[in-house]
Symmetry: C2
Subunit: 340 residues, 2 copies
């Protein structure tokens, strides 16, 4: 009875044994045929019978069983959390996935929202990924890296503000963005610089170092730096603009172009001239920033390409004993337009 097929919903999932039975061969043969094992020659008629049987049953191999047998996976794990990401970043992710797939890896994005570092690392380790690529949404500790490696990960790669012990690190020091913005504003003769700090969750990983970067440049030069919290809402921006003159600022680095556009509009509506009274600069070089009047100055950030990163992953997997590479790859450059 347990073998009686009924509704397709009830019929149990076909295994390679079912295929073998239907084709009248052994499971070994099925495996050889379906995997095109070159070490073994199977006659063409047999191959056909096997393929047809597989087709008829709708056979799909069981990844978990294969993994267990093989002792390793080709999973590259990409932990994600909730970060309101821009178009640059999502394009980068696609590019990366595509490049990794070409190298025959399976990219799995694993949502880790609401897990702390330890729990997250354990959850990832359960999947036995061959590599973990942490893009900075979740901060990894050296201990987490150790857990992952112990679970068989050949490579742990972090893309973030600092080097992590034991991991290949792509150090993207976000301070650089703040540094560039501040240098530019100083050069334009500004001396009292506001720095927008988004109130939205999850962005402090980026905003804090950027603020630090501004400070690092501005304060030694005798300029004042004032952090300005701002929620991404029209009302919040209007409220800020209303008390703007009281702040006595002559420039603002607005975290990124979206916040900059928001703030600039409110400033203009409040009668504050940009850039004459207050210079405004954003970051990310969004197309939309170019559409404003005055056109928005910005800090363009050079992202590493997905292709490049995929190659690094592959290299690290192939040579796990290799010395952790450490690249400093934050390139940031001011694009001056009309708002500064």
């Amino acid at each position: 009875m347990s073998q009686t097929p009924r509704h397709s919903a009830e019929r149990s999932v076909p295994t390679s044994a079912d295929v073998a039975r239907l084709a009248g061969v052994s499971r070994a043969t099925v495996s050889y045929v379906l995997n095109n094992t070159s070490a073994v020659r199977i006659s063409e008629p047999t191959r056909r019978r096997v393929r047809e049987a597989a087709e008829e049953l709708g056979y799909v191999p069981h990844a978990a069983a294969r993994t267990l047998r093989a002792g390793h996976t080709r999973i590259v794990l990409l932990p994600t959390a909730h970060i309101p990401v821009g178009p640059l970043y999502s394009r980068f992710i696609s590019e990366l996935q595509w490049a990794l797939r070409r190298l025959d890896y399976t990219v799995v994005q694993y949502g880790s929202l609401g897990l702390d570092g330890d729990a997250a690392a354990r959850a990832w380790a359960e999947l036995r990924p061959v590599a973990v690529l942490s893009l900075g949404e979740i901060a990894l500790t050296a201990q987490n890296v150790e857990v992952l490696k112990r679970s068989g990960a050949k490579a742990v790669i972090t893309l973030g503000p600092q080097h992590v012990e034991g991991a290949h690190s792509l150090v993207m020091d976000q301070r650089e963005v703040g540094v560039r913005a501040a240098e530019h504003l100083l050069e334009r003769g500004r001396r009292r610089i506001g720095v927008v700090v988004p109130e939205e969750q999850g962005l402090d990983l980026f905003s804090a170092p950027r603020l630090a970067g501004v400070r690092q440049v501005a304060e030694p030069a005798g300029a004042t730096v004032l952090p300005v919290p701002l929620a991404y809402e029209e009302e919040a921006a209007d409220a800020l603009a209303a008390r703007w003159r009281g702040l006595g600022l002559d420039a603002v680095y607005a975290y990124n172009d979206e916040y900059a556009m928001l703030l600039m509009r409110s400033l203009q509506d409040a009668g504050i001239a940009v850039p004459d009274e207050t210079a405004v600069i954003g970051a990310d070089d969004l197309l939309l920033g170019r559409l404003l009047r005055p056109r928005l100055s910005t800090v363009r950030i050079d992202m590493v390409t997905g292709q490049l990163l995929a190659e690094l992953v592959d290299r690290a997997v192939r040579d796990p004993t290799g010395v952790p590479e450490r690249h400093d790859l934050m390139g940031a450059e001011v694009v001056r337009r009309e708002s500064t």
Copy 2:
């Protein structure tokens, strides 16, 4: 020799047998303790020994082995392709992930870029997900659904323009967006309506039905509809604006707010008055659209909430025999501002 621990990199991955050995108990006991199996009482000292041993070895259970044994997973598969998605969508995804995790599912985003429907369905089926949630980036056929169900998926849910046989469908008819935009423009007395069709890849899944929606309303009313291809670049918009008057349009539905902002700027720069000479409407109700002058009119789209969708998934998984639900849930509403 094969058991001699050396560098941590070389030491083989600890299994529950290793934990058992170290704790001086059987593998069964280890399993009981680590899974808090309530059907079995284990003495407190034993529990402690087991936990300590696991901790010391850095033991992490092997998901594939557990899956194989259990015969099913708790994976909800979320296929993704490259679609340049907006902030609404990515927030929705986070929300969904979070809600699903609370229901004890493991959300796996699986990049399927460059796979056709059949190959993709097979690849997904290998993971034996308990549910597949196709958010419309990849069009599923009834056949694909069948493959997935045969591989044990209890629920296949699609969010897209049309119902898919065998799947629970959340029908989001994108035509609705075009319909609303067109109705509004007609109401404002416009009779020659341009419809921006993005040249970017992957967007036609959305743009085609939206265009159809405009036609559906405008043509019976005696208005003209003209598709206008546009790449998301400043130069392309400028070029289009330069030949705008030749098109003889008095209104344009610009696909979404981003394209609308781009085009509106170029139109204004070309001396075309908005809305007097040409009305412009977008879609998505982005914050940035409110910042333009004139403020951008838009079609606000009501997204289903992640919470709601997670509950639907859970319901479908618990009762796989249930009749496929079919919800029509595209709510779209015009937000009139100043550009129309």
